[in-house]
Symmetry: C2
Subunit: 177 residues, 2 copies
DNA sequence: CATGGCATGTAACCTGTTACATGATTCC
DNA sequence: GGAATCATGTAACAGGTTACATGCCATG
């Protein structure tokens, strides 16, 4: 799974500009994928050269022009190849978990503040995910709905565990004083 | 958070070889971090040159020799700097979620098989995490215990959601025929 | 004497990020 | 006129993976 595969997927339904794609990635995809402009634009150029997509300049009134990309038959074929290829394992890297893991080497108060920050961020993410779900649930495919639900439930689970971890640490703290 | 930070953290408690570190990463760290030998060994060389760690060749009987690394005072200082630096956001990339998201473009049966595979892999992960937890729970710090519990609970949540997703898809399937 | 685990390393490559650079247009 | 949003792009760099290469030693 590379950004190329995801771009092809996004173009399967409708034509989009690089800017549009970035916004899509930041909303619905945010739970399980993301990419920067520094990835998107060079990848689009490369894909156009390879004939997977075509570019069209679109004049807009009240806004700068944009370049809208559409998938070609070759692109669809490539996308199908991706969709049937072996699934890669999830990859998860968490700085917060690393800090927690090595928590014994710093003041417990600092670890607690990291947990609190984690809880806060997770709550913010949940708000966004839930509003996205409400906004889109009537206009998306059933598998897309499942994706959004997985994101929500997973974050709720994380929130619960962080909360319980925080409680445990707070109970431990007085002993150390 | 780079592999250097994680290596420093692992060396805070005891000296280790690159091979040892890889095994540590594959067991207790597997839920929230990993690195290949191709990262570990070059990073260790670099860190030794910078004076963050020292190397010692250890003869073993019944086994090939190994190079055991220890953290220096400078290394401890660097680790502390990391532990107090701003936390990076979690990063999560899931090929399986992407396939699910674009599931409408392939046969529902294939999507279902991907979900089933996801469930199977999650179950396997859970077995490993739980046995790790039982094996280490009496010999680890309280924050490390929380980390392991978070891993377990999170995977259980994923398992639940995948199961519900699968059910939903199976209900949908007959309609499409 | 082959297999598998222990142990280390490197070179070629891929993928992606960050920071920078540019410019249109709207709204206040 | 300044900020915000829309819109595209690039160059330098970071960070990592994969595949390959090597060799020790024990066990069956």
């Amino acid at each position: 799974m590379t950004s190329q595969d995801v771009i092809l997927g996004m173009l399967m339904k409708k034509s989009l500009s690089g800017y549009d794609m970035k916004h899509l990635l930041e909303s619905v995809f945010s739970y399980f994928y993301n990419a920067s402009y520094g990835t998107i634009y060079p990848t689009l150029s490369k894909m156009e050269k390879e004939g997977l997509i075509t570019k069209e300049s679109v004049q807009q009134d009240g806004r700068p022009n944009k370049k809208v990309y559409s998938i070609t038959e070759e692109g669809r074929e490539r996308f199908r190849t991706y969709m049937y290829s072996p699934i890669q394992l999830n990859e998860f890297k968490s700085d917060a978990m690393i800090r927690l893991y090595f928590g014994e080497f710093i003041e417990p108060e600092v670890v607690i503040s990291y947990l609190e920050l984690g809880i806060q961020r997770t709550e913010e993410t949940l708000v966004v995910l839930k509003s996205d779900y409400e906004k889109h649930k009537h206009s998306i495919s059933s598998t897309q709905e499942i994706c959004l639900l997985i994101g929500i439930e997973n974050n709720e689970s994380v929130l619960g565990t962080l909360g319980r971890g925080l409680e445990r640490l707070r109970k431990l703290l007085p002993e150390k004083r």
